[in-house]
Amino acid sequence: MAARGLQPGDVVAGFRLEEELPLAATAAFWRVSRAADDPPLLMKIPRLEHGANPINIVGFEAEQMILPKLSGPHVPRFMASGSLDSPYIVMELIVGESLRAQLAKLPLPAEAVASLGAKIASALHDIHRQEVIHLDLKPSNIILRTTGEVALIDFGFSRHLRLPDILAEEFPGPIGTGPYIAPEQLLGNRTDPRSDIFALGVILYFFVTGERPFGDPSGVREWRRRLYREPVPPRALRADCPAWLQELILRSLEVHPRERHATAAQLAFDLQHPQQVHITSRGKRTRRDGALSSVNRWIHLRRSLPSLRQTIARQLERSPIIMAAIDLSPGQEALGDAMRLAVREILHAHSDARLTCVNVLRLSRLAIDPWEDEQGRNLHSRRLAELQYWAKELPVPAHGITFHVFEAPNPAAALLDYARNNHVDHIVIGARASSPLRRYLGSISSQVVAEAPCTVTVVRATETAAS
């Protein structure tokens, strides 16, 4: 079936064509309808006529394999797909605006870029958890839903780690888009979720400076320049780019995947908590690194890639976000020690884990007068210091740990909200000794266990025989 012969009103595989949408040159896109209760639908029909790029034909088949396996708000919902004589995919038509529409407004303020970046990173984490790597992340493949969430589209170059990689088998060269493709993709590795983090770094750089970090290279030879040449630091182009944002962008653009954030969730976390970003020389740089150190990095990357490949599937498992909810009340020292031991054991098992230590101040529901407000601030900073003291000896690098004290009338609900918003994988929480009153009222830890979106470890100090 030739895509161009179709007219509005035609029916393809039970779907009525309503309107052709000029979305991309590689395929025809139609808004279609079937039943009255269906959400708005989009039909994608690849251009198979003579002269069509073969990579797009195989890419369409890859998308037919991958899209039905994805679910959640960050991808278009798959509806149907068709066969050899009339290939098509029908999916949810995402209501919203492509990020491409923002390109005319660049550069954007740092806060806006960070907030957008956090949404994109959350969407990436969601597909990575489903064992899919996008591998062609760019503004035109990101849609901001009218509800505010980000949806990723076009899985034609993507990789599902449990399915055959039909693209790599058909095409030996790198597969991606010039400005955004990650160094390891150029070397033939299509199994690393951190390739998407690199592409996100390119987008963040572009959005905050108005310029692409590696320009718009036209051939694979030019694409490879990013393997040995670092981008100009964003602050050299835009002095008001905060150091923390430059730190996150340049870390995402590291040539070696291991130097980037271990997971998109960890990057989303940093983008949402700028004041907690650990700033290294990366964030402060105002000039490019010397050529020699870049070359060294590139040699290092080449040497270590083969060994990396085997461990990639475990990447997400190794890199959880662990939240330790710590009770700092006097008299709970034994529980604090038991918590530290439990957290240490969990960190030991996950080499790239991220630890976030939180403490909730139970907020009085009464209005706060200025004196109490002052007291509150003091208490807040004292608690923060206590948290840092508690975690002092835990084996985590400085960029792998953050501290949060927040105030809430309902501590359990606040902890649960925090866990959901920050993609926490494992909550470690202390439970005070059991008592009839606590059993009657219900404890914070039991509410967290009942409603948590992830694994929860409840820690209790061993009771002494005398008590």
Partner: protein, 246 residues
């Protein structure tokens, strides 16, 4: 329709029972057996009767090289296999032998071909262990998809529109879309004698509506099956490999 595809039972009652129970729990509508019901294991009579009962109920079954050896010549087999075939001959009734003799070499259903070893000269029992052997099989049939066993190691070969053959080791529990743009040759693992280092029994479910194939791994009482092999006086290696999955 959801079809359970079972290959290389090799007289392993424990493994076949576990796979049939698993398939039933997965609500399959039909069963297709891809040969080698006997040889190696201790329950050849039971295996043949079970397959025969499923055929009565609408299943399809094709002939395997061990089945053919029991009722014909075993000269193509190695020494260990020949010992097992000789023992198996003493265990089967004439009716069970007649059942094996009557099995077809291959069967077709819609655009699929079911054959024990390869679509290329099925009676030559070719081993599809590389792209060349896969290519011979693809060339020998018009059917879009071929399902076979014989190798005891799960693997999927696919042939693109431009003639490129690649292969993929399936991951248990993941539905693989058999896209219509290419041709597929799926090598099933063995129910009764896995050789990919995983002792759990292997079979697959073909979903015809969704055109997906899902490989399954089913843990079963391999120690029990191995003990029976030893008790039957069969070569010790046949019992050990059930435990190791090699």
């Amino acid at each position: 329709m959801r079809i359970a595809l079972l290959s290389d039972v090799h007289a392993n009652r424990e493994a076949l029972s576990a796979c049939l129970a698993h398939a039933q729990a997965c609500s399959v509508d039909r069963y297709i057996f891809l040969g080698d019901y006997v040889g190696y294991g201790a329950d050849p009579g039971w295996a043949v009767d079970t397959v025969a009962a499923h055929i009565e109920a609408g299943a399809i079954a094709v002939l395997g090289n061990h089945d053919a050896a029991v009722v014909g010549s075993d000269s193509d087999l190695n020494d260990t296999a020949r010992v097992a075939i000789a023992w198996t001959r003493t265990q089967l009734t004439p009716q069970q032998c007649d059942f094996l003799r009557a099995l077809p070499l291959s069967a077709k259903r819609a655009d699929s071909l079911f054959v024990h070893a390869s679509a290329w000269a099925p009676e030559a029992w070719d081993y599809v262990t590389d792209a060349r052997a896969a290519s011979r099989s693809f060339d020998a049939t018009q059917q879009r998809t071929t399902f076979c066993g014989h190798v005891h190691v799960p693997e999927i070969y696919h042939l693109s529109g431009t003639g490129k053959i690649a292969s993929f080791t399936p991951i248990a529990g993941t539905a693989i879309p058999l896209t219509p743009q290419r041709r597929w040759l799926a090598i099933l693992g063995a129910v009764g004698q896995p050789r990919d280092g995983i002792p759990a029994a292997s079979y697959a479910i073909l979903d015809e509506e969704r055109t997906t194939l899902t490989y399954m791994r089913v843990p079963y009482d391999a120690a029990g099956a191995a003990a029976k092999v030893r008790a039957a006086g069969l070569p010790a290696v046949l019992s050990l490999r059930l435990l190791a999955g090699r």
